[in-house]
């Protein structure tokens, strides 16, 4: 029942249709639509074919114009698809986002003029984007839907990707004319396949505090963290499948500049190349973050490669999460921080963003999360109790192709 349809409507318009792939995630770089007839499955008990739920479709290399945007590119979402995850990949010196995404009959998911209306290009937030999107350098990924308020309709979708940078310290974007690779990951998981899922995890260890791959499975701090991590994701009916430990030769301290470059973080994530497919969790001594303006730096607990990160790939410059081990003493929140960063990597935003001035509070787009819920895993504050996930947050996690259904027929 594998099927696919790829039509070139015009030189710069590519239509791809969802298709099936084997139940196991495909290897990195696998895919591309291979033509053939579009005989979408009619069997609703196994809607995309035999044990199939994901397919990556490359939309090709596109060039952004002087205004930073690519020409419109189209792809078809089949009736079976439950979510799509779009990736935009380019030179690491620049950041990438979408400058428009619309569904059949012109339904707007990302308005094409949002960059003109927003004060900053890194996040498109409600009311402009009910389905939030976040820019990233090197590879940006966008999950649709990431809120029940957005419906993924079957049919022709049109997207435009956008490349930009911003001079150090500047809050204004500078559009870039560069080549980009755009791909669409089509996910088809009927409700029954979202009842249970699993993610495989690779712990990438720098040897800090004597935590090596050989010792980590017995290290008390790692054992406790892993138990917390498992318990948190069990709430979303997601089990940790393969949990592997690897020694990675790299810096134990990572410096992250808020100037839009991916720098040391990208170098770190690339060290995961060649590992088995899994979400890479890098445990380092410290992650030091430097604001875009002024001198100084601050320790942070962790960072994710994206919201979400690139799907089903390891070793890209955004593939993974990094967590600081330096803090010790008091209640150890290591497992919760790992779970929090993996939550971002799979597509969850903070339930509410920290207020930095007089701006209105920015909540996520999930109706069942509470702005005041300090116990939620995706609270922006570190607390001892940040543990819970809501059903709608679980739904977002299951919409990500990293979460493989475990109850395939």
């Amino acid at each position: 029942m594998r099927s696919c349809l790829l039509r070139n409507i015009a030189l710069l318009q590519i239509t791809a249709c969802a298709v099936a792939c084997a139940g196991a995630p495909p290897p990195a770089g696998a895919d591309t639509a291979d033509g053939g007839s579009a005989d979408a499955a009619a069997d609703t008990s196994d809607p995309l074919g035999v044990h199939t739920w994901h397919r990556r479709v490359a939309l090709g290399t596109l060039q952004t114009a002087a205004d930073g945007s690519t020409p419109p590119v189209t792809f078809t979402v089949p009736p079976q698809a439950t979510s799509v995850l779009i990736t935009v990949r380019g030179a690491p010196a620049f950041e990438y986002t979408l400058s428009g995404l619309s569904g059949p009959s012109g339904a707007i998911i990302v308005p094409k003029n949002w960059l003109d209306l927003s004060s900053q290009p890194w996040l498109c937030l409600p009311p402009l984007c009910i389905n939030r999107i976040a820019a990233e350098p090197a590879i940006a990924a966008f999950l649709v839907p990431n809120t029940p308020s957005t419906q993924l309709a079957a049919g022709l979708h049109t997207l435009r990707a956008y490349a930009f940078d911003h001079p150090a310290g500047a809050h204004q974007r500078s559009p870039k004319s560069v080549p980009l690779e755009v791909a669409v990951n089509l996910v088809a998981k009927p409700a029954i396949w979202k009842q249970n899922g699993r993610i495989d995890v690779n712990f990438c260890l720098t040897g800090y505090a004597g935590i090596t791959a050989a010792y980590a499975p017995q290290h008390p701090r790692i054992v406790t963290a892993l138990a917390d991590f498992k318990a948190i994701y069990a709430q979303a009916r997601i089990e940790l499948g393969e949990v592997r430990f690897f020694d990675i030769a790299t810096d134990t301290m990572i410096f992250v500049h808020d100037d839009g470059s991916d720098g040391e973080l990208g170098d770190l994530f690339e060290k995961g190349a060649g590992l088995p497919l899994g979400v890479n969790v890098f445990l380092v001594d410290a992650v030091q973050r430097m604001p875009a303006i002024g001198a100084g730096s601050s320790l942070i607990m962790g960072l994710a490669g994206g919201i979400p990160g690139p799907p089903l790939e390891v070793g890209t410059r955004r593939s993974g999460v990094v967590v600081s081990l330096r803090m010790s003493g008091g209640p150890d929140v290591l497992g919760r921080i790992i779970a929090h960063e993996v939550g971002h990597f799979l597509g969850l935003f903070h339930t509410i963003e920290q207020k930095t001035g007089n701006e209105a509070p920015i909540a996520d787009s999930l109706p069942d999360t509470s702005d005041a819920d300090a116990d939620n895993l995706m609270n922006w504050l570190q607390t001892e109790n940040s543990f819970t996930l809501t059903p709608q947050q679980a739904g977002v996690l299951h919409d990500n192709p990293w979460v493989a259904p475990t109850n395939l027929p």
Binding site: Q288, A295, S297, M327
Partner: protein, 195 residues
């Protein structure tokens, strides 16, 4: 006399706790936004945001958090870091004082704060302390200071120090950090030359 003392005691007993409570409430009001920043998982404020959150006594509040051993480890590390963001004599003074902290891990954070803050703004004034940190008894602190050398405002001075220290360093982890600093400083120099 007794008649006058009793009301006075009564006045004090009623008023002082009230005043203390009021003062604490004000302090808590000032401290709460700062506390939020201290406990944020990923976010880092800029200097203006730290100042706005902490008010006129920001440095003193950060100092109190660093010294409070009952505080969470993360808040203490962050408070040290935040001093590097502030370009004031009080922040400089407080951070310099904490370069002597007994806890190796906190001192490592202080070393990075020193190199990335004062070391970036006024490298000539910051070198004596940074030199001491590069020779610290704890390898963790030496490694942190070494890694942060590349952030210093004086690239040549930083490179010279890294090479000097590298010749004497015996711990592989610190050697690696020094090599990385030299590599980054060379890249920075090359980048500056091409611009």
């Amino acid at each position: 006399m007794q008649v006058r003392i009793v009301p006075t005691i009564l006045w004090i007993s009623l008023t002082v706790p009230g005043l203390c409570a009021a003062t604490s409430a004000i302090a808590a009001d000032i401290a709460q936004p700062l506390r939020s920043w201290l406990l944020a998982i990923e976010a880092v404020p800029n200097a203006e945001q730290v100042r706005r959150a902490g008010g006129a006594h920001t440095e003193a509040l950060l100092d109190a958090v660093i010294r409070d051993t009952k505080e969470t480890s993360y808040a203490r590390h962050r408070a040290l870091s935040f001093l590097s963001l502030l370009d004031t004599p009080a922040a400089l003074h407080t951070l310099r004082k904490h370069l002597m902290l007994k806890d190796d891990s906190l001192r490592a954070t202080a070393a990075v704060a020193w190199a990335s803050g004062p070391g970036r703004r006024q490298p000539q004034d910051a070198w004596p302390d940074l030199d001491r940190l590069l020779a610290d008894r704890a390898p963790q602190v030496r490694a942190a200071a070494a890694r942060a050398l590349a952030l210093a405002g004086d690239g040549k001075g930083a490179r010279d120090r890294a090479l000097r220290r590298r010749a004497r360093e015996s711990v592989p982890e610190v050697q690696k950090a020094l090599d990385r600093a030299v590599q980054q400083l060379d890249a920075r120099e090359a980048g500056a030359r091409t611009q």
